[in-house]
Amino acid sequence: MDIQFTGEHLLPGKLGQFFIVLSIGTSILSFISYLLATTAKDQLDLSWQKLGRLAYRLNLAAVVGIGACLFYIIYNHYFEYHYAWAHSSTTLPTHYIISCFWEGQEGSFWLWTFWQGLLGCIVIAKAKTWENSVMTVISASQVFLATMIIGVEIFGAKIGSSPFVLLREAMEAPIFSRPDYLSLIQDGNGLNPLLQNYWMVIHPPILFLGFASMIVPFAYAFAGLWQKRYALWITPALPWALFAVVTLGSGIIMGSFWAYEALNFGGFWAWDPVENASIIPWLTLIAGVHVMLAFRNTGHSYFTATFLVLISFVLVLYASFLTRSGILGETSVHAFTSMGMDTQLLIYLAFFLIIPIVLVIKNWKQLPITKKDEETYSREFWLFIGAIVLFVSCIQILATTSIPVFNKILGTDIAPPTDAIQHYNKWQIAFAFVIAAISGFSQFLKYKKTEPRRFYIRISVSLVVAILLTAIVVYVADIYGNAMYILLTFAAIFSILCNGNILGEALKGKWKLAGSAVAHIGFAMLLVGALIAAATNKVVSINNTGIGFGDEFAKNNNPRENIILYKNEPTKMDKYLVTYLGDSTFGVNTYYKVNYQVIGEDGKIKENFNLYPNAQQNAKMRQIIASPDTKHYLLHDIYTHVSSVPLKEEEHHEDHEGHSDDENYLKPVAHEVTIGDTVRFRTGYLVVKDINKSAKINDIALTDKDVAIGLVLAVYSDNKTYSAEPIFLIKGNAKVDFGKKVDEAGIKVRFTNVLPDKNKMELTLYEKPKEDKKDWIVLKAIEFPYINLFWGGTIIMVIGFIMSIFRRSKEIKSA
């Protein structure tokens, strides 16, 4: 059966799919051309190289075409496409349409392909004699990435997943048998609210630029082995390696900042497998950069440098396998779910793992590995040691992160550590101590050989000052209870001092050294900042008012980290007096205004600020998605998010007419009462005290014939007494009554009738439903001390890396 569907826009999808096929074709052509150009006997014949260049540039154009088609589809809300339907909605602000792009796996693969295409074009322009061999590797990787979004089935095996699949092809539903099905699909699923954050517009592109740029140093190292230009690849690859380090590092830091600003897991790093997967290749490449320098200056550590650069890209592929295959499902909160592309990812990984191994083994005998021993008092020796320690720290992270993979391979059923953060910190603090210490004292070592006496004299000053400063810092930051914390703080301060010394010399004229000194200072600051913030952050919303749930519960007393705030009721929380002042809704978010005050002993307000943690409420789903708000001080942050709020039902505010106030109450109950009677309600009781036979009503003039009777009531609720006097009026022939509200007790009372024959009065009681009695939020608040040291350190480190890139790029030109 062939249904003619109406309203579909098939052209952009077909065009997009054409571009995908074109991108595969051109990347294969580029790979073959460059391969032939590299292996050609006659190196003066440039025809293959020319074809390779053309194909690679066409490939970039095709990739841009794919992106343009996809953007067009999402931007115009063509929900006949599964990708647009699954990741966007009509209510989404325009700037977040960009984020929709990388919410799905297809879009993030596209992003990777795009960066790799762009970087390849830069390599073509800059690489000179390295172009053919390096581009062979890059275009091979481009072939693999292009197949990730093709979305075809060959012999039952699914290859790639296309972003241009139509909704009716992607799923089955009865509505697709209707030609006008599209008119029934009003809106897409929308973007995950957590991704609707400005950091999510910028974080993924930077992170993927980092991942993509790892291929370039890899390709150089590979080409060095392949073309037997063993030692020569280091110099041109160095700026690329630094570029990859700085972009991936910035991407990770932005992700960490996003987690801190927009997620409510309460921190900037959680050792989540997805986070680990991105930091491991970063650390191995940093280690690689250091030994590349050692080799270039002294000829030592050749194998270590090659190995670390090669393994870094393999680990990027491993990271994408971990996050995209769904294998982390039981251990990570934010991995992708499987798309059935595991095998494809594994082939990609195996290709870039096995071929380099083969090349290394084949060339082993000719590799320029020194037989000489390094001097202990030499820079190259400690660069090597530092790199190895970094690598071992990666092995530790990798081992724990890969538990689900080992389970799969070995068929075991091991669960990750119950306290993952503590498990990682135990090891990583020790590694960080060694690395920080080496990054300090090795600054005073020269390549080849340093005279020990001079070395000790130079470091001794820094050492003594560092000990003094450490004593002050650990005391002020209150971390002197833990020996490891003290040691790490000491090593980091020592490193800052040593590198500060170098920076001082740089300012006198040795500008070349400034980059590494700045980066090391930033790194050491980051370590101290992270350590102090992570070790001494404290939950300030400790709740001690909870009513017991039995002894068992109290015995296992985890800190009760959430506190309930009732609207307009100030609550003491640590040194703060916090008050929930109300909420307001903008778009999908509801902002809860929370006032913080610190009142000094003299009764004056010392600090006074408002925070607006928000939550997206979804009444239909009965869930909230909370985002924190943070007050930033120079020396600490106050971080606040709501953990629970009353769920709003679907509200209809548009039309107030025809709705009476009584709708806010439960079904009224009529009681027949006389003086002295008691009526109970949920939160208290009331007593009929008296009858006021000459009641007065504002604005109504009473004549002698009118009867106005008041019922004098005493209302008891929450240990408080309120009085109320509902009035019953007979004016002419009409019976009217004037009810009274006692909002504090959540009730309304009406004197609705007089029953003379029974000698009783009818009192109608309205009770508010339970939830509406008081507005509340459940809040969690954390104080992060000295977190700006961490953020400041990250920024300084990035600046240092950028300075180094400029220095190493100049070296290529002068070489």
Binding site: A170, Q186, E330, D373, Q396, N543, F553, N562, S644
Partner: protein
């Protein structure tokens, strides 16, 4: 022997130590009945029992959340979590609990949920206006 070889060996020893420590620190997946027999913390994988009531009343205690879970063997157990009720809890398909047994209650220190997220589930929301039929 080269100095770097000695260092290499030390490094390898540390790496092995790190990996062994991974397994020393690692926990096990278990069931409620296994949890009863050990005092160690372990992971229990199960499903939320929707037939029994969940309890979270922040006005009473904002840090007490209890619910019932059927583990993979079908054993039903009450679970207590010291904290606010996680978002999206009702919709979780599978729950991984970390904690230990105290009496007849499993006290979870961590809850990891697998949700068929709104943003990945393939369920079309159809809006349809039906014409009024004549009676």
């Amino acid at each position: 022997m080269k100095k770097s070889s000695i260092i290499g060996m030390i490094i390898i020893a540390i790496a092995i130590g790190a990996i062994i420590s991974t397994y020393a620190d690692s926990s096990t997946y278990g069931t409620f009945s296994e949890a009863k027999e050990t005092s160690k913390e372990l992971h229990v994988v199960g499903k939320l029992d929707t037939t029994k009531a969940m309890f979270y009343d922040p006005e009473k205690d904002a840090n007490y959340f209890s619910f019932f879970v059927n583990d993979n063997n079908g054993t039903n157990c009450k679970v207590v979590f010291t904290g606010a009720k996680p978002q999206d809890f009702e919709r979780s398909e599978q729950i991984v609990l970390t904690g230990q047994m105290l009496g007849n209650e499993f006290h979870a220190s961590k809850i990891l949920m697998k949700c068929p997220s709104k943003y990945t589930q393939d369920k079309i929301e159809v809006k349809e206006v039906k014409a009024q039929g004549k009676i």
